[in-house]
Structures are given as C-alpha cells and as structure tokens.
Symmetry: C2
Subunit: 246 residues, 2 copies
DNA sequence: ATAATAGTGTCTCTCAGACACTATGAG
DNA sequence: CTCATAGTGTCTGAGAGACACTATTAT
C-alpha cells in the first residue's frame, strides 16, 4: 500500500506524566488543576504538547521540570534525580473532545518533595494518595480525573508495583542515602502490604548490587541507629523481590 | 501554562508492527520491502498511518490483517488468533527524514504461518530470523532495517522474551492444540537456550491454568505419542517460568 | 525500666535443576 | 533390535516465610 506522506491526518501529540512518590506511608500521585475547558477546574495529570523539534522523553522531562522543578537522571546515578520512563500511549479518537490528541504517558518515580507549585501557582498542584483516586479493593474513587487520566494513572501505578519487584527502582523513591527500613516502607506503601522487617533486611542486603553501604548511621526513625545505604549499580535484581500474593 | 489547542505542532502518527513467530526452531520477524523513498528497497517493519477516526489498537489490527490476513483476539480465547499488545512509542524528531512522525509500535505473537504476501504482493514480505537482524552475542546484523526499526524490533524481541516468563503468552506461538514438547521448543527458540525436557514438562503441567488437556495424542514429532493441550485461561503464571541466567 | 527499631540465626517448606528410569511410538 | 520423544521419580541446594533472639537508641 503506497501512501503519500503529505496526506496524513494531522494529530496533536502530548506527553502526560504519572509522577509518583511516597509520602507518609502512602503512594501519592501529582495532580494539577485544569485552568481551561474542557474539564476546567478538575484535577488532571500534568502534561503538555510536544514541541515540533523535541524528543518524547525530552518533552516529558521539560514538563516535569516546569511543574515540579525536578531533574531527571536518564542514565546511571540515581542521586537526587527522579526516574523517568515511557509508560504507554493513549490515542482513543474521542479521548479529547476538541480534536485528535495522542498522548504518550510517562512514569516518574520521585523522592518525597515539598508540596509542588505548578508554574509558580500554588494551590493548583497537589500530591494525592493513589488509593483515593483509584477504586482500590471495594472503595470507589472519590473524585474523577479529567480525560482518561484515571486509566493512565492506574496503568502507571501497576507498572510501578511490578517494576520494583525485579528492578532496584524502589530506591528512586528514597533520598540519596536511606536505610533499609525506609526502603521497606517504600515497598509497603507501593504494594499496600506489610512486610516482615527481618526477612526484608536479609533479602535486600543479600541481593548483589542493590545496596551500597555508605558508612554512616542515622536515627531518623527512632530506635537503634540504622546503617545508611545508597542505590547500587544493579538495575535488575537477582533474585527479585517478590510481592506477597493475594 | 495555558495552551491554545489550535496552535499545536502537527504530527503524523503511524503504527509499526513487530510480528513474531517461531519457524523451524528460530524466532522470526515479519518484514516488508519498502516500495518508496526513503529507504526504498530496504526491509522494514510493516505499518502505516493511523486514520483520523481510528483507535491505535484498531489501526494495528487493520495493518496486521492487510499484511498477513491474521486476525487478533483481543480478549480471551487464544484459538487461532494472534496476540496483539502495544509495545512502545518512538518519536525522535529525525527518525523520518520527510517529516515529524510518531510511531506507536505494537507487538504481535503469531503461530507459524505460510509465507506471507504483503497486499497480495509475494516477494515483498518475508519471515526473517531475528538473530540475523539483531547483533546477537558477537555477530553483527547482516542487514540494516529502515528507519529506527532495528531498535523497535530489538525492543519487541526483549518484550517477548520477558513476557513469556510470567504469562502464558508462549501459547500464542502455537497452533490451537499443541504438545508440551512444541511449547518447549517455543521457549527454546525465543530465549535461545536449551531447556531440560523433563523439568519443563513437570513445571508446565504443574502450573495451574496454563494448560488444559484436550484428550487426544499426536505423534507429529516422532517418538512416543504426546498428549494434546490447549491454552488455559490463566494469563499470569504462578509460579513463573524462569529464564536460565547467563 | 519500656518502647521502638535494627539486625542475626534457625527452622521448614517449596521449588528449580540435575539426572536415572520407564513408556510408547517409528524405522 | 535402535533411536527418538514422552513422561515420572528422586535427590540436592537455594531461597522464602515464620519467628526467636540480640543490639542500640530514646524516653
């Protein structure tokens, strides 16, 4: 089938961001309030149009910086940088009532941050527990997001849940130096299940390349001081962390 | 940041297909020969423009039918239908020299088929072992694909390799009824490693929901007749099949 | 002292991998 | 008969989960 490249149907291409963090033992997502129609006043995922000469990942990183000030480290070195990866692309014809928009969703895993300001505008951005936004178990969502963003968020959360099983990405939710207990609380918040602290400790310190001791100790959590670690170079965990089954 | 939806940069959106099958103990991908510039005469992944009122998955299924005659079963029932899922989206500004094209790649897993004809044109489509197209181990690719299709193919192959670990998708490479030995040869071809037939048999028949005995036996492969199975309903395998490590 | 968290040791059960052995066809 | 594939049994070692126990801080 020969096709004429000058006769393609025009699309708008956007990036949407599922930005996740762990705050007060809960997995939270970043939302911004929409200032225009459609869905004016409703909460939505941050995002925006891809520019004419811009890569998809660059557009996502730019939007992230504009909304949160976060920097990403694409390669290596996790220190302080958030993790960014492509999630999936949503292109249902009617997903935006104005026109044909294809959105390339990206997933960002970030350490806990002060409450964000969207474009300098406080009050128009907030962290919200994902459990309030998605029908977890029996509870229905308390509030609906704009467009198909609830679906995108659900896909992002599920990706994060499965990805921390076999990669060291859980460390992306932690500050540059962290304790085993802090890392465990990340797993517990993302998976929504309690984990045995003793087995978790043995497992995580025994997985090569996951954690690198950094020397100091801290007593942030009360109790006996805990060793500090930073993320090791390993990106794929062997053996993987296993999520307890239903 | 307020944005004016009428002032978006226009993009072309295409779907590209990584269609994989197992032929003669080798993982093969479907390629079509390009009839126009750029890359005229070179091999490329099948694909085409998304129509103005068409969903992304529908566009992928339509292109697949046009190129191969294959039908997909999106939900349930694997019988004879190929598996289709979204892979990733590629939008580097210079990936198509003519204009800004964003391609939403899809992955298709299909049972072995007669040599395909692209749009009725035999000789312009072929199955090629992925090992010849990607630099496996030390061997470099013998032939370069158009655009960034080598990268897309590599991502598709890696997705297939990891996906058959924890899902029952390997059965999508088999005919509706198949033996344990045939399924094992699929795993061996996709992973590129030999597996112990005895342990494989014990494991795969012991995983609930993976295989459903269908009653008959066959002697397709020579040797003692083997039981026939069809794919069970389970989509996620517990425990998973584990790929031997390096 | 108690409470809280960090970290180690030990037991049991399951499962992956190695491989001996039997079963049933084709030639 | 031999050869090839199907299918079962058995052993061993690694690891997950349960949980007793010790260590080190704050109050």
């Amino acid at each position: 089938m020969p096709y004429d490249p000058s006769e393609f149907p025009p699309f708008a291409v956007t990036v949407d961001l599922v930005v996740l963090t762990v705050r007060r033992h809960a997995l939270c997502a970043l939302l911004v309030r929409r200032g225009e129609d459609p869905y004016r006043g409703q909460w939505a995922l941050p995002g925006g149009f891809v520019r004419a000469d811009e890569d998809l990942a660059s557009a996502a990183a730019r939007e992230l910086a504009e909304e949160t000030g976060l920097r990403t480290q694409d390669a290596g070195s996790w220190h302080a940088g958030a993790h960014l990866e492509q999630l999936a692309t949503y292109g249902e014809p009617a997903r935006d009532p104005r026109m044909r928009v294809v959105s390339v969703a990206h997933l960002v895993l970030a350490p806990d941050l002060p409450t964000p300001t969207a474009g300098g505008d406080a009050g128009s951005a907030q962290w919200r527990p994902t459990s309030e936004l998605l029908g977890g178990a029996e509870g229905e969502p308390e509030e609906t997001l704009a467009f198909d963003h609830a679906r995108i968020l659900a896909d992002g959360v599920e990706r994060a849940r499965s990805k921390i099983e076999y990669s060291s990405l859980a460390a992306a939710f932690c500050p540059p130096e962290f304790t085993v207990g802090e890392l465990r609380r990340v797993y517990e918040a993302v998976w929504g299940v309690p984990l045995d602290p003793r087995n978790f400790h043995r497992k995580v310190t025994g997985t090569p390349g996951f954690l690198v001791p950094v020397g100091g100790t801290t007593t942030r959590q009360g109790g006996r001081p805990a060793q500090l670690f930073r993320a090791g170079g390993a990106s794929v965990l062997n053996p993987p962390m296993l999520r307890p089954e239903a």
